[in-house]
């Protein structure tokens, strides 16, 4: 097994897994407890528009995706305060992002070789430069959460009360959506746009089964689960020669179900 580490792509993949797990542990915990899974799905699919634009303009698709997710997160946040039918807006955004992406890719000259890896991820092709980007995004996410932890918690728990005592609720919600957007960018390389939502939810959901009286502990534990899922999935995908992103997701789902069943049996007895 150790010979795996001799390959640079494998070392990069392992580092990418850890970096992705840190962001999903922290931001995913908010996504789960604040129930913004659907919004996060909308934001991640909007990224596809940016990837298409990247191909069309001949720039790094991740840059295009970053612009698109941030814009869609801000747009979502602003629209959702004005409308009661938030889920409809999210659905529209979701589809629009994908459609824009397809059109741009169609207009681009030639064939988009790694398009598939943006959709479903390929942790084995993460280049060194992307690791640096992931590290940078992690630093931004961690400092964002560190500086606003108490407000994020108060808004996630009881938005109405938070607003009543003067917490800038709308601003905090926008901040959280931007953090989700950055996490999406970070995860695209690992699991791809379509599977991003799994890594944003499953590690946090597994941790929440075991930790119930502290969000901080839940975050730490979801990072641990994230590392376990990405490492385990990566090794399994290597052994069986199957798609890494999908393997990571299926492994996490299986472990989540096992924990969920065990915890519920314990509760019942």
């Amino acid at each position: 097994m150790l010979e795996l580490l001799e390959y640079e792509f494998m070392r990069n993949a392992l580092i990418a897994g850890v970096l992705a797990s840190i962001a999903c542990g922290i931001v995913g915990s908010y996504v789960v407890v604040k129930r913004i899974v659907f919004i996060s799905g909308g934001v991640s699919h909007a990224a596809f528009g940016g990837i298409g634009l990247g191909y069309f303009l001949g720039i790094n698709p991740i840059l295009g995706a970053t612009a698109f997710v941030l814009l869609s997160a801000l747009g979502m946040g602003l629209i959702s305060t004005k409308t009661k039918r938030e889920d409809t807006t999210i659905g529209i955004l979701w589809a629009t992002g994908m459609a824009i992406g397809i059109i741009f890719i169609g207009l681009s000259r030639g064939y988009a070789p790694d398009l598939f890896s943006y959709l479903f991820g390929n942790i084995l092709t993460v280049p060194y430069s992307d690791l640096l980007l992931m590290l940078l995004l992690n630093l931004v996410i961690i400092s964002g959460v560190y500086l606003s932890y108490n407000e994020l918690l108060a808004v996630s728990f009881d938005e109405e009360h938070a607003r009543a005592i003067g917490v800038p609720v709308d601003r905090i919600n926008l901040l959280l959506l931007c953090l989700v957007a950055l996490t999406v960018i970070l995860l695209i390389r690992v699991v791809g746009i379509i599977l991003v939502i799994a890594l944003l939810t499953i590690p946090a959901a597994t941790a929440n089964l075991l930790v119930q009286n502290s969000l901080r502990k839940m975050m730490l534990l979801s990072i641990v689960f994230g590392v376990f899922y990405t490492m385990g999935g990566l090794i399994l995908s290597y052994i069986f020669d199957i798609a890494s992103g999908a393997t990571i997701i299926l492994l996490s789902v299986i472990v989540f179900i096992l924990f969920s069943v065990t915890v519920n049996i314990k509760k019942a007895s």
């Binding site: 108490n150 005592i165 969000l215």
Partner: protein, 250 residues
């Protein structure tokens, strides 16, 4: 005379084309315990939200500590009627009470040792000391209500707004709550909204009846006529087990 801290002048509120409050006049003074009663849907919660600056009136004027509502939030403690939240939400009683301090201004406002001591004190005041690290979702409805009251008190407010605080609590806590409020009203103003007339009238200094319009009393006695106006139907006043006269001698 105590200082007027909240003033509503001819305040009307329309929500979705429906007139919820009509020309409401109300003054709240320092160190006063005001009870507001009225039927469900009578605009009680709306009135509190107007004072908090969460709902903008369509007419009239509101001032809170001399400013527009919303500016005075740091002076106000608020116990909402329903705190809807996820039962699995990973926070302890201590975390929830500290949230009462989340609205303070300034950068990098982590909770200090002083804040934690205040939170512990607030938790003790509502009789929940044994539950500091308990997950909020594992408490009973009454215990949870106490925690939300502690969350409102931790910021040492000068005005406490409570929306149906007795709705989900047990009799024992209710007594404890009124004892706590009796102590608090020596220092701060308390406004309590309830549809439970018997419960409220024993302890308050003044009662207002609200059903779209506000009928205001300078005493804690309410007349049958006012109640009938408020509820817009004949009311039988039965005050059972109340160790205090609520009604005028007939």
């Amino acid at each position: 005379m105590n200082e007027e801290i909240v003033a509503l002048r001819n305040v009307s509120v329309d929500i979705g084309g429906i007139n919820v409050l009509e020309k409401v006049n109300l003054s709240i003074y320092e160190r006063e315990f005001l009870g507001i009663i009225g039927p469900n849907g009578g605009g009680k919660t709306t009135l509190l939200k107007v004072i908090l600056g969460l709902i903008k009136p369509s007419g009239g004027m509101v001032t809170v500590y001399g400013n527009a509502p919303g500016k005075g939030r740091q002076f106000i403690g608020y116990v909402p009627q329903h705190s809807l939240f996820d039962k699995e939400f990973p926070v302890s009683v201590m975390d929830v009470v500290l949230m009462g301090l989340a609205g303070r201004k300034g950068f990098l406002r982590g909770y200090s040792r002083d804040d934690r001591e205040k939170a512990i004190q607030a938790i003790e005041n509502v009789g929940m000391s044994g539950y500091l690290n308990k997950q909020i979702g594992k408490l009973s409805g009454g215990q949870r209500q106490r925690v939300f009251i502690a969350r409102a008190l931790v910021s040492e407010p000068r005005l406490l707004l409570m929306d149906e605080p007795t709705a989900s609590i047990d009799k024992q806590l209710e007594t404890g709550l009124y004892e706590l409020l009796d102590r608090l009203k020596k220092e701060i103003a308390v406004v309590m909204v309830s549809h439970d007339i018997g419960a409220i009238s024993v302890h308050v200094d003044k009662i207002a009846c609200l059903n779209r319009r506000l009928y205001y009393h300078d005493t804690n006695e309410i007349s049958k006529e006012t109640l009938e106006k408020t509820y817009m139907c004949p009311v039988d006043i039965i005050a059972h087990g109340v160790p205090h006269r609520v009604l005028k001698t007939h």
